[in-house]
Symmetry: C2
Subunit: 549 residues, 2 copies
């Protein structure tokens, strides 16, 4: 990316073997950066200032497991922005990790097939009672039997405390210590590949969490030229933005190379404010796909986008960012409103059978029409984008968890409604995504939970959540995000799978996913081979799909 | 654009003939809007609230020349945001204008030829001692003889006071009263067309001036989601943005239809913050070109862009905004630094002969390289964009006037330097732009001048200008923008043309423009028929152009 030798290297502490370790940090605001080793024995190391605000040094006698801080201008002691592991949480020291030490056994894994993906979204903390990567591993046979082929793991970057959805992460390179740290994630990915399951990771590049976020002490990672829903926007197009981009692009490459991940779900790309001629997202996709080629495997780039803008998934030659696919909220909203009759908030723009028919025909519902909710026209036709560029779902962590009480669809519609939802999603030509537990009608809610150690922030989060829903006219109680019970309530009751009527639903999901794989008409992603008709008065959606001529 | 009948209409007071007048204003923040006619006789009229916050009414007995205010919820009395004329300035009443009354004689005018443009940038207030449209008209034969074929008129939208560059305009539909008002502009355009000169108008859609800007009382014209260099950004993608867009798009159509303008130079498109799937700028270009087709004439859309992003000039099918051309600052900076040796501020990124050679070869100099000034990589290659999509210049109002003392190039380089500049610009395959007075080496500066009636703002502007240059380390005096002498100093001394050595330069400009028209090798805009070689040590730029095989 640049002639500067330092910048082709990955930031953070990279263990080079034989007790040698390279430290590289972008800290243009610091005249001098030292590494303070705090364990196993105290040492202070001097980094050398490089071009463009990098500080670098290679040292002997540093073994994996060593704990350290950076010392900025001998004043501020801070964890490493590119820390690989924060064993004592977001405020504690960073740990040197030998990412290359793991003995992988997935050499023949080719990466996910873009044509036949079936995604399963999973939150490590609540998927099992243990809340760890290893506990997920124990369930892989079951997931494989369900018929999905790709796990989409909610963010695992180190967040404050031990309970969080993951979107408050502040160390993009560190794997949450309470999930099992970096070695735990490596074991999980290796096990998945052994079973023929791909793993894509949810990464958050549009903001960092509010606690333990020390990046602004190092350099202009943030900008006040744009305001985002989560505070200061990440600086993707201002002075210093090349290095900010590198920090995140190297992050994706780190996951690919060191953890054998198969791709990413990039969170909220609409919150990435970037007016540059070469957008960050395009650069990210290009770098990730290039690395995939070098590694000899397919990688999959999935965007969460609220823009209804085909630019997200178009190729760069057509002015696009080059994502392989995007989450399609419109499809969800069209389906959800029909099943529940809800019309509040953004559901106001949906509710007719024509909306679902349109989602089937085009991917988006809003392709330039006026949206009452947004009070402006919204979207643009993605006509030329194939069906496999749209990921659809009847539920996901946001659509469930952003409700005041986190009710799943099972609490909002009939059992028949759940079956209908499954058919609509899985028998569509789009890529289906199942939110963990959906497949057997899980009854536990998925509520918003946090565990901020900072008491002031903890109080603010609890209060903010109450006020947010009060503003929407919500009159019931709102679970306190900081209360451990909110987290515990959100855990799956995996045993439900074998009870009645849950096992009927579970069998249906298995059957549908099997049909999708095996019936040529259902496996065919070509929307040309599909007829869609929404009969609004009769409330009937007629879909005909075929394969071949 | 919409099924709402009101919104196909132009906002403002539209005189329908026979004493009938239609008022239409977008004021979603007002429950009720009245028109208060203040002259020739007091009346209060009730507008009817329409969908999406429009208020509308058609009334009898209202003759052109009537003066009025809008009354918002019977509380606030405000001029019309779409006022056609503010005869008493930005705080006074708006005037009903019969735009259709002018007797045009340009029926056979086909519009400008995109292939052979030569632009002349002109500020009405300082071009002549009178500072009016009619006084410009008296000089048209001279301009025609020079060899340019298109006037680019600096903004004429009503601004505070009588002296301003035009970028503090606050009534996009009103023609500055001190220039001669709407009828004056119509006379000038008609006269230009009669002489075979096209007229493009500089329009400012990225911000409004600080004084007399009452739009926020009417509706969400502005947003605080983005911060711009000139305060609150215009709301092009938030709630209500459809109507904000319409306000500006109808403005362009108003100029086209009512004033026979031949196109626009759209100011600072990089300050238009818009993340929508269908960007405002694309919509604007599409609407303007469509109207041009309906009017049976060519129209020309020119962007000022700081982005070095070919998206600005690419067609929509390639993800572009569809401008016909853009101003190319890089070319200017490359040329200016060679001629003057200056390296301050953004000139830091230029100064080598290779920069000018690169500008010749590509249009931009920065196509993705690291910019020391911007502290990030900048730009992207516009490889496939033809040369005629780039407007180049050795001077313009910004490059001259944004200097502390507004020195023209004539004060910064030798006479031979001026000749070299003329050759470089005019003999290039790009579209040349000449800044008024440049053609004879005008010695008057072009300084930053304002005439804010609001004393607090006046003081702030004077102080701000001093501080701005103090921050850059400028130690000399900075002319006071509010001082009338600053304006008077900036007037052209047109008589210089006939003196020595100015007339030598003037003759050269005429000759070069004639060669450009007549020599096939120079008229050929194909960059394939050009060789460029920058010999840095020898300080020689070698350019070979040819035509045919």
């Amino acid at each position: 990316m640049d002639a500067n030798p330092a910048t082709g290297e990955c930031p953070g502490a990279v263990y080079l073997g034989d007790g040698r370790c390279r430290f590289l940090v972008w800290a243009p605001l610091a005249g001098q950066v030292n590494v303070r080793i705090v364990s196993p024995r105290e040492r202070i190391l001097n980094l050398k200032r490089q071009k463009r605000g990098y500080h670098r040094g290679v040292f002997e006698d540093i073994e994996p497991g060593s704990l350290y801080f950076y010392l900025l201008d001998k004043e501020k002691e801070r964890p490493d922005p590119a820390s690989r592991h924060q064993p004592e949480g977001v405020h504690g020291p960073s740990r040197v990790v030998d990412t290359g030490a793991y003995a992988w056994t997935d050499q023949c894994w080719p990466g996910p097939s873009r044509r036949d993906l079936a995604l399963y979204e999973l939150h490590v903390g609540t998927f099992t009672p243990e809340g760890t990567f290893d506990a997920v591993t124990a369930q892989l046979d079951e997931l494989k039997a369900l018929g999905i082929n790709t796990l989409e793991i909610m963010p695992v970057a180190q967040f404050p405390g031990s309970r969080n959805w993951g979107y408050d992460g502040v160390y993009p390179y560190a794997v949450q210590h309470s999930y099992g740290g970096p070695e735990g994630l490596q074991r999980l990915v290796n096990a998945c590949h052994g079973k023929g399951l791909a793993v894509i990771l949810d990464v958050v590049y549009n903001h960092l969490g509010p606690e333990g976020n020390y990046l602004a002490d190092f350099g202009p990672y943030f900008t006040n030229r744009y305001t985002g829903p989560w505070g200061a926007a990440v600086n993707f197009d201002g002075p210093g933005s090349d290095e900010v981009r590198r920090f995140f692009i190297q992050n994706a490459l780190y996951w690919l190379t060191g953890f054998h991940l198969d791709g990413f779900r990039v969170d909220a790309v609409h919150a990435i404010k970037d007016f540059s001629a070469r957008p960050f997202l395009e650069e990210l996709n290009s770098a990730v796909h290039r690395r995939g080629e070098r590694l000899g495997k397919r990688v999959y780039m999935l965007a969460e986008s609220d823009l209804n803008d085909p630019r997200v998934i178009l190729p760069p030659v057509m002015g696009g960012y080059g994502f392989d696919a995007q989450w399609t909220d419109d499809f969800h909203h069209a389906l959800h409103t029909l099943l529940t009759g809800e019309r509040d908030g953004y559901y106001h723009d949906f509710g007719g059978l024509r909306h679902l028919a349109r989602a089937f025909g085009r991917g988006y519902v809003y392709t330039g029409q006026y949206s009452e909710y947004r009070q402006r026209r919204h979207g643009r036709s993605p006509r030329i984008c194939p069906a496999r560029q749209f990921v659809v779902f009847a539920q996901n962590h946001d659509q469930v968890g952003n409700r005041a009480c986190g009710e799943r669809l099972a609490a909002l519609t009939s059992f028949d409604g759940l079956k209908l939802a499954a058919c609509t999603v899985i028998l569509s030509p789009f890529v289906p995504l199942i939110f963990m537990g959906e497949e057997y009608g899980e009854t536990a809610p998925f509520q918003y939970f946090t565990s901020h150690p900072d008491p002031r922030l903890a109080a603010a989060v609890s209060k903010g959540r109450r006020q947010e829903f009060a503003a929407f006219g919500w009159e019931g109680a709102v679970p306190d995000p900081q209360d451990e019970n909110t987290f515990l309530r959100s855990r799956l009751n995996y045993g439900l799978r074998s009870r009645h009527p849950n096992r009927v639903l579970y069998a249906l999901y298995r059957q549908l996913l099997q049909l999708r794989r095996e019936l040529p008409a259902l496996a065919d992603p070509d929307r040309e081979n599909m007829e869609v008709l929404g009969l609004e008065p009769e409330n009937v959606l007629f879909i005909r799909r075929w394969s071949g001529a």
